[in-house]
Symmetry: C2
Subunit: 276 residues, 2 copies
Amino acid sequence: MKVVETIEELQQLINKKSGKTVGLVPTMGFLHEGHLSLVKHAKEQNDIVVMSIFVNPAQFGPGEDFESYPRDLEKDVRLAEEAGVNIVFIPSVKEMYPFEGGIRILPGPQANELCGASRPGHFDGVLKVVLKLFNIVNPDRSYFGMKDAQQLAIIETFVRDFNLRTKIVRVPIVREDDGLAKSSRNVNLTPDERAQAPIIHQALLKGAELHSIGLKPEQIEDEVASYITDGSTGEIDYVKLLSYPSLQPITSETDEVILAVAVKFSKTRLIDNIIM
Amino acid sequence: MKVVETIEELQQLINKKSGKTVGLVPTMGFLHEGHLSLVKHAKEQNDIVVMSIFVNPAQFGPGEDFESYPRDLEKDVRLAEEAGVNIVFIPSVKEMYPFEGGIRILPGPQANELCGASRPGHFDGVLKVVLKLFNIVNPDRSYFGMKDAQQLAIIETFVRDFNLRTKIVRVPIVREDDGLAKSSRNVNLTPDERAQAPIIHQALLKGAELHSIGLKPEQIEDEVASYITDGSTGEIDYVKLLSYPSLQPITSETDEVILAVAVKFSKTRLIDNIIM
C-alpha cells in the first residue's frame, strides 16, 4: 500500500492508461467497520482501490466539531492496509484548497430537509470536496455508505444531473451487535449514552413496522420520536419519513422511502436511517 | 465528420481508450471566424476535435435573447466540416437537461463585475453547461475565445479550484477588417449600427494607449465611454479596467489587466475587450 499526500504523486501512481479500473472510498478517517465495508465492496469491483482521508473543513459550519472531529491517522493507515487498500491519499487542507476563487456548488431542495435544515452550507462543502476528489482520482466507481443517506442522495443527484464520470455505489449501514450504526463520532458518547444509543435503531425498526401496516408519516414520526425520548437522554433533532432519494413528502407515486433520525447527546449528534 | 445528437452516440465515437487526444470547442452555433479560429487551434493540438453546438437556455435570463439568438444549423454543420471538425455534438435541451435536481454552481466575486452585474445568473448557467460538457466529452483541452473574457476567467478559476480534468486554451479575438469583434449577434445590428460599431475597438485601442501612459483607471474608463457615445448611437452598459483574470480593482501587484466594454444598440448588445 502506498500513502501519498499530494495530488501529483497520487495521479502518477494511478496512471489510468494502464486500463485498470479504480474504486474510490472517500473518508474523513477514524476508520471503523463501516468504512472497511466500503473498501470490501470496492475491492470486489475494481483493480485499484484508492481511499482518501481528509477531514474537510468546507463541510463543517461555525461552532461544529471540525476541531474535535476524531483523528487517528496511524491506526487508519494500518486498517486501510489490512483491508487491502492500494493507495491512501491524505492531503493537507492547503493541498486540497490552495486557491479560493469563491465558486460554490449549491445543492437543491434535497438539502433543505434532515441534516441540511440544521447544517446550512454543509452540503455545499460536501459537493465541493467530492467534485474535487472525483476529478483528482477519476474513479470508475465511488463508494458511499447509506448511513449518510442525505449526502448519498445529493451526490447521486449531482452525478446524474452533471454527467460526472463515476458510478456511485450505495453500501449498506454496518451496525454494532446491539444495532447502533457504526460512526466515527460514537467515541464521543459517554458510557451512559453509549448504553442508551441502540434505542435509535430499535425506534427505526418500530417505525418501519408502523409504515408497513399503513400508518401516516406524521404518526410514524411522532411514535419514533417518543420512543427515543422516552428511553434515552437524547434530544430529537429530527425524525422524518420522506421519499428517497428525492427527499420530498411522500405521495402515492413514491417508490422508495427513508425513515431518518438525528439525535443529540451531550457531546455528539448521531444519525441513522432505514430505507424501505 | 460525424454529427451526433445524443451523449451515448458521442461517447461511443470518442472512445478514449484509443489513446487519442480530444479537443473540445463549445459553441452556441451560428458560427463565424472566431469559432473557426478555435477549431484551428484545437486541430493543431489534438487528434480529435469535438465541437458542441448548443444554445444553452440556462445562461439566458428572463427577457434576454434566448428565442431570438441567431441559429443556422445547416450552415454550421457545413462550416464545421470545412474547418476539419471530427465530431459535431448537437444535443436537444432535453438531452442536456433531462433532470432537474436543483443543484447550482455559483461563481464567486468574478461574476459581480462586467456582464455579470447586468446578467444575474448568467454565469451559473455557463458553469452548469461547461461542467456537463467537460464530463460528457472528457477533453484533454477545451478552447474558449478571449472575446468572452469574463466567461473565460470564471471557467479558468473553476478548472483550477475544482481540479477539472481539461486544460483551458485561450484563443485571441478574431475581428472584421474594420476592427469589429466577430460575434454571432452582429447580424442583429441595423446597417447604421453596423457602420458605427467599429468605434468600440477604436475606443479600446485609445484606452490601451491611455493606460500605457499611466492614466488612472477611472479616467481611462471615462475617456473610452465618451469616445463611444460621442461617435455612435450605442449606450454604454459598462467600461471597466480591472485585473485579469481575477476581475478585481487594479493594485500595485496587478500583472495582467483587462479593459472591457459592453455597448447596447437597438436590438443587440455587443462586448469587446483588450487584455494588456
